[in-house]
């Protein structure tokens, strides 16, 4: 069991030991490259699996089979779709701002790789162990707003522009409760480091100490990801596909990959901060626990998407500024009081 739990660490040590000095610059560089490749593989694999899973869950909630033609139970559907996307013509609209138009999908695709790099997948298994982990994560993921605006503006399409406008309004509003909901955990652990936060949850996951923060985080996270019921940015019934309207082929595919990558990243953060990350009964290796927790959150997000209608745009703003923000500030206050009382009682 211990071997299985530390499987990846043992492999990493084995690779390091190939070098004359296991901690030389070259050994570190090699490990960084390998870590990077692993993160890329996680993003692409997650997207491949999640797209199919989403369609299967959509089928399940709306009482139909979902994709079921290609391969066993339709499991090869995403691969076929990806191949089809690669074969599509790459159209750049005549009136588009070409540089901005082309760079936007690349930005959105890079973000999940950057954010997933600081997540601890198991004990000592964070590709990059960053002391400002949470801070870095939120800062990087908020760049996606910029990518949406670039796509919306660069396409030179009115629907795209409206979608881009919505993206700014929505994502900037929801960033604040999202960040505030994480502060309670930071106050308890006195650390921004995700590894330290997971270690602190050995006995009790923070979802029990911070239930309000968890709920706020999931709601604000859905809005931050533009997932239904907050998918106003790409609301097809209103603005066709929002910023993605003019994109074709693989560029559109990159947006899609980015969307699912971001979803994985945010679910990974939620699992790490609130559900105890890789902590779990020792019957399974830590990384298996971690991915199971991520899976549960992703399933919840998909379930919500296919069940709920889309929220009204003014209600969206009300929810962010009049409900979630005061609640998250209240949560910080309560956490502070709790810590103060705890210290007082413990005589600290």
């Amino acid at each position: 069991m211990e071997t299985l739990n530390n499987l990846f660490l043992i492999i990493a040590d084995a690779i390091r030991s190939l070098f004359a000095d296991p901690h030389s610059v070259w050994a570190n560089l090699t490990m960084d490259v390998i870590n990077f490749i692993i993160v890329v593989v996680i993003v692409v694999l997650a997207a491949l699996i999640l797209i199919l899973l989403e369609r299967k869950i959509a089928g399940w909630t709306s009482q139909r089979p979902g994709p079921n033609r290609l391969g066993p139970r339709g499991w090869f559907q995403t691969i076929a779709d990806a191949l089809k996307l690669m074969g599509k013509e790459d159209v750049t609209p005549a009136g588009a701002d070409k540089f901005i138009f082309k760079i936007a999908p690349m930005i959105i695709f890079c973000l999940p790789m950057m954010t997933l790099a600081v997540i601890p997948y198991g004990r000592k298994m964070a590709p990059i162990n960053l002391d400002l982990g949470i801070f870095y994560f939120v800062a990087i993921s908020s760049i996606s707003t910029l990518a949406f605006v670039m796509a919306g503006w660069g396409s030179n399409n009115k629907y795209s522009l409206l979608g881009g406008m919505r993206a700014v309004a929505q994502m900037v509003s929801y960033e604040i409760p999202l960040l505030f909901s994480l502060l309670g955990v930071v106050m308890i652990t006195q650390s921004f480091n995700l590894g330290v936060i997971v270690e602190a949850q050995a006995s009790i996951p923070f979802v029990i100490l911070q239930p309000l923060a968890f709920v706020i985080f999931i709601i604000a996270g859905l809005a931050e990801l533009n997932r239904a019921p907050f998918d106003l940015v790409e609301a097809d019934q209103e603005v066709v596909a929002g910023p993605f309207t003019e994109y074709t082929g693989l560029r559109w595919g990159l947006f899609f990959l980015g969307e699912y990558g971001n979803m994985t990243a945010l679910s990974a953060l939620a699992a790490t901060v609130f559900l105890g990350g890789w902590q779990g009964p020792a019957i399974l290796p830590g990384y298996v626990w971690f991915f199971m927790k991520v899976g549960v959150i992703i399933f919840f997000m998909m379930w919500v998407r296919w069940t709920f209608p889309r929220i009204r745009i003014d209600h969206l703003m009300h929810l962010a500024w009049k409900v979630l923000l005061p609640l998250s500030i209240l949560n910080i206050l309560l956490t502070g009081l709790g810590i103060y009382i705890y210290r007082f009682v413990m005589g600290g």
Binding site: A58, T61, S62, Q63, R64, K158, Y159, L161, L162, M165, R166, A228, P229, D231, L232, A235, D236, Q237, E238, V239, V240, W306, T307, F308, P309, R310, I311, R312, I313, D314, H315
Partner: protein
């Protein structure tokens, strides 16, 4: 410091747009996302139905009426054949009348299910959409058993029905009627009970009683504005005077009431069908009408309560086998007049919802 003038954004929604039902196009003038002006543009599906009728015999025009409001095709058949029967003075057999009521009310349920489904879909309620379509499928099956087709059924003839429903029709109908309460419960659960859906629909797109009357709106849209008017009660045609049913009226005047009133109407339709199944007599389904239909010269107007409002046919006959002039009074074309007025000041999102609650079928609007 100078303040920059903001520009008005003119957005062309449709005819190819995910939320436009059929080939509807609206040009919206936007201030941010708020609508300052809305111009509906119609006619993309214009086939010249009324002119086509002039070069067809009376019986040949029945399939064309299927293509008016294609979500409730038996009702269009009914309106047209009854108009011709009125012109000819034909009495049709009792059994045919009952069958017409059964199919007409089934069509009403199917049409309202599509309306609920598409309203939910216009708000991204995907599952609610497939729930309603799943149940409508059973009505389509019943059409198929009797008429052979599922959407444009062409089920009525001048003088009666095209066919007697087969044996398996009656058990299918019974099980459908029995399952309906559970079905409606599911729609409430997944859509009407949802806080977000209520937020999207309640107090949105107010169509006041006066405005509705002045625009000569008919059907559920009018009744949701608090006017108790239904052709089935106001001027009972066929055998509607024999049935015990209520006309649901709501006074909310908003998108929510325009949607939920269809649920009430489904309940009433179920009641009517149950009574019709109970009372239906044995006998032929077709009256003895001449092979060549040659109504006497004259003119006639007849109207029925289509699921979407009042559907009227005006026929002028010159005594030949072909009508001299046919004029159709479509329900949704006239109901659509409210859109530019009611939509003002709402966001794009809400206009999509308001348009959905009108339940416009472009086959009928454009004729």
């Amino acid at each position: 410091m100078s303040i920059k003038e903001t520009e008005e954004l003119i957005l062309n929604m449709g005819p190819q747009h995910p939320s436009m039902h059929g080939l509807f196009r609206m040009v919206v003038h936007l201030e941010g996302e708020t609508i300052t002006k809305l111009e509906p543009k119609i006619g993309y599906l214009h086939r010249g139905m009324e002119k086509l009728a002039e070069s067809r015999t009376y019986a040949q025009f029945i399939p064309y009426t299927d293509r008016l409001d294609y979500l409730a095709s038996p009702h269009n058949n009914w309106a047209y054949v009854q108009t011709v029967e009125k012109l000819m003075g034909v009495e049709i057999p009792e059994r045919a009348e009952y069958l017409r009521v059964i199919f007409g009310e089934l069509a009403r349920i199917a049409s309202h299910q599509v309306m609920i489904a598409s309203t939910a879909l216009d708000m991204a309620g995907w599952s609610a959409w497939s729930y309603a379509f799943r149940d409508r499928e059973r009505i389509c099956d019943m059409y198929e058993m009797t008429a052979g087709s599922r959407l444009t059924v062409n089920i009525m003839r001048i003088g009666g029905m095209s066919a007697e429903p087969p044996e398996e029709f009656w058990p299918a109908l019974k099980s459908f009627l029995d399952d309906t309460p559970e079905m409606l419960e599911e729609y409430y659960g997944i859509f009407f009970g949802n806080e977000i859906a209520l937020g999207r629909l309640k107090n949105v797109g107010i169509l006041s009683k006066e405005m509705a009357e002045n625009l000569s709106i008919t059907g559920p849209v009018l009744r949701a504005s608090g006017v108790n008017y239904d052709v089935r009660k106001a001027e009972p045609y066929s055998i509607y005077d024999r049935f015990d049913f209520k006309v649901p009226v709501r006074t909310g005047c908003d998108s929510y009431d325009r949607t939920i009133i269809r649920m009430d109407e489904i309940v009433e339709s179920i009641k009517i069908i149950k009574q019709a199944v109970r009372d239906i007599p044995e006998g032929p389904v077709m009256a003895k009408v001449p092979k060549v239909i040659k109504p006497p010269a004259g003119e006639v107007y007849h109207r029925v309560e289509n699921p979407k409002g009042e559907l009227g046919f005006y026929i002028v006959s010159d005594g030949t086998t072909k009508p001299s002039r046919v004029r159709i009074r479509p329900a949704t074309f006239i109901n659509l007049q409210m859109l530019p007025i009611v939509a003002l000041g709402w966001k794009i999102q809400d206009v999509v919802a308001i348009f959905a609650t009108l339940d416009a079928v472009l086959g009928e609007v454009d004729k």
